[in-house]
């Protein structure tokens, strides 16, 4: 049995590596390859034409602009909520903490119905935002809230309070301490959470589908894809899907690079 490769301590060996690669290929790479192949039915030029067609382009732009705004807002407020949950004591903190995860757990279509009931045609608060960009934004704010809170919270918990005290003893005011000591420490988590929130916002379907009214001009990319499938234009759907795929992948890649860059200095 001398030919059998020795497995280094802690390693998984060739079999483990093979299984992992196979699984990743079957579950992730194969479907992605299929969609990319589909989008290239009309060649690269066909793909470009499909994306740059006015309606497709407008949809993609709307999706990205709203996603960016939503991500920035949730980065700010998510950090604030995480801060309050970590640093402040108040009655009902456990309840609030559990509430944060609700958008994760709730089926997104339920979120859509809830929002429709609240800010739809028969709004009890007299705020009819159905079929507006704002409504889409609110739906996306709702579903992406947990990302930043949940990635920043554990980092805030582990934060070196003494570093803040050291900064204070050196004369730094509270805003300066936040900007120069706390923010750099939570930045990787913040960016990672924001990246996930953005990726989720770009691809969100369920929570938006009812409240957006699903009318052309107020559709997000995922609705556009569903619409093109229903009207039997799979190549256009595939083109939009590939656009989302590339954008999401680039965002996640940049996030990872930033994460490993900033991790080098952590002791």
């Amino acid at each position: 049995m001398r030919r059998r490769a020795r497995v280094a301590a802690g390693g998984v060996g060739p079999l483990g590596l093979g299984v992992a690669t196979l699984w990743l290929s079957l579950i992730v790479l194969l479907p992605l390859a299929a969609i990319v192949a589909k989008s290239l039915d009309g060649g690269v030029a066909g793909l470009w034409d499909a994306i740059s067609a006015p309606v497709a382009w407008k949809t993609l732009r709307l999706t990205l602009v709203i996603s960016v705004i939503v991500t920035v807002l949730n980065a700010g407020f998510g950090t604030l909520i995480a801060w309050v949950l970590v640093r402040d004591e108040f009655p009902g903190k456990g309840f609030v903490n559990a509430l944060i995860d609700l958008p994760f757990a709730l089926p997104t279509i339920v979120a859509s119905i809830v929002l429709l009931a609240l800010i739809g045609d028969n709004s009890p608060i007299g705020l009819n935002l159905a079929a507006t960009h704002t409504a889409i934004g609110i739906a996306l704010l709702f579903v992406t809230l947990p990302f930043v809170v949940r990635s920043v919270q554990p980092v805030l918990l582990e934060l070196d309070r003494e570093a803040e005290e050291a900064a204070a003893s050196l004369g730094a005011s509270n805003p300066v301490i936040f900007r120069r000591v706390i923010l750099p420490a939570i930045a990787p988590a913040l960016i990672s959470g924001a990246g996930l929130a953005f990726a989720r916002a770009v691809g969100e379907y369920g929570s938006v589908v009812l409240i957006s009214g699903n009318i052309p001009g107020n559709q997000v990319a995922s609705q556009f894809i569903a619409d093109r499938i229903e009207t039997d234009r799979p190549a256009t759907a595939a083109a939009m899907a590939v656009a989302l795929l590339v954008i999401t992948f680039v965002v996640l890649l940049v996030m990872r690079l930033f994460g490993s860059w900033s991790q080098r200095h952590e002791g």
């Binding site: 050291a166 003893s169 050196l170 300066v176 000591v181 750099p184 420490a185 952590e266 002791g267």
Partner: protein, 325 residues
Amino acid sequence: MTAISAIDVNKHYGDFAALDNVSIEIPDGSLTALLGPSGSGKSTLLRVISGLEVPDTGRVLIAGEDVTALTPQKRGIGFVFQHYAAFKHMTVRDNVAFGLKIRKRPKAEISARVDELLEIVGLAGFQRRYPSQLSGGQRQRMALARALAVEPKVLLLDEPFGALDAKVREDLRTWLRRLHDEVHVTTVLVTHDQEEAMDVADRIAVLNAGRIEQIGSPRELYEEPANDFVMSFLGPVATLGGKLVRPHDLVVSLRQIEDAVPVTVERVVHLGFEVRISLRDADGEELSAQTTRGEAARLDLSEGQQVFVRPGHPAFDADVAAPAA
């Protein structure tokens, strides 16, 4: 002149009195150690002086100015923490420059001052490194340079060597002493290690249960302890006839002498120059006597042997030094 005064300071955490009406004066240019077991209030006192902790009642004066109502930012202090409190995302150079940048000093001045400080703490070659690339001792020296950069009126060190291993701790101790002789900034050092306090400080305040038991020079505290607590905290003690005695102040004799108590030899441990003799008295209480190699050779003790001990000093005790009859 007095650099720091704490006057009638009280600090409670719930029912626990961390500081119980503590007053202390710290002379200008001194290196004072606050020494005590954990929970004695020594760190709390230091943090009250720094402004990081707000006392329930009492006042704090730094350089004659009442700073009780001031935040740490405005007190002109330098503070060093046990676990370095390094700014991990900044280089050594940026860490040290932090306080000066906040004070918006000219770039050239900051640069020159940082160079000078890195030189003093022996980190001149490390300025581009990040704290994670430094050893514990180097990190703490960086923290000291950072605190000194803003030219504080007082330097406050909270168990600065507590996280380091024994060898590094001893080196840094000597280094701090030399640094203090060079820089002359009034320094308060919190420690639970009596040897560290005796080695570094020129004054020691012994704290226990939120109160100051005694303040004095290391020698005063060792030779004239105000009470049993100070005596037992500042060095090894043996109990003889209900009284505390230093093990090296015990005379061991082979024959019955005046005031001596009969004891049994349990163990004789040779520690180089020093020889430690473990003894047990008639009530079964253990005590330990310390003697020299020569004296131990003369006594030639064996385990289980009955001998007699009394407080005193062998060198001045002709009666005992005479060979047993």
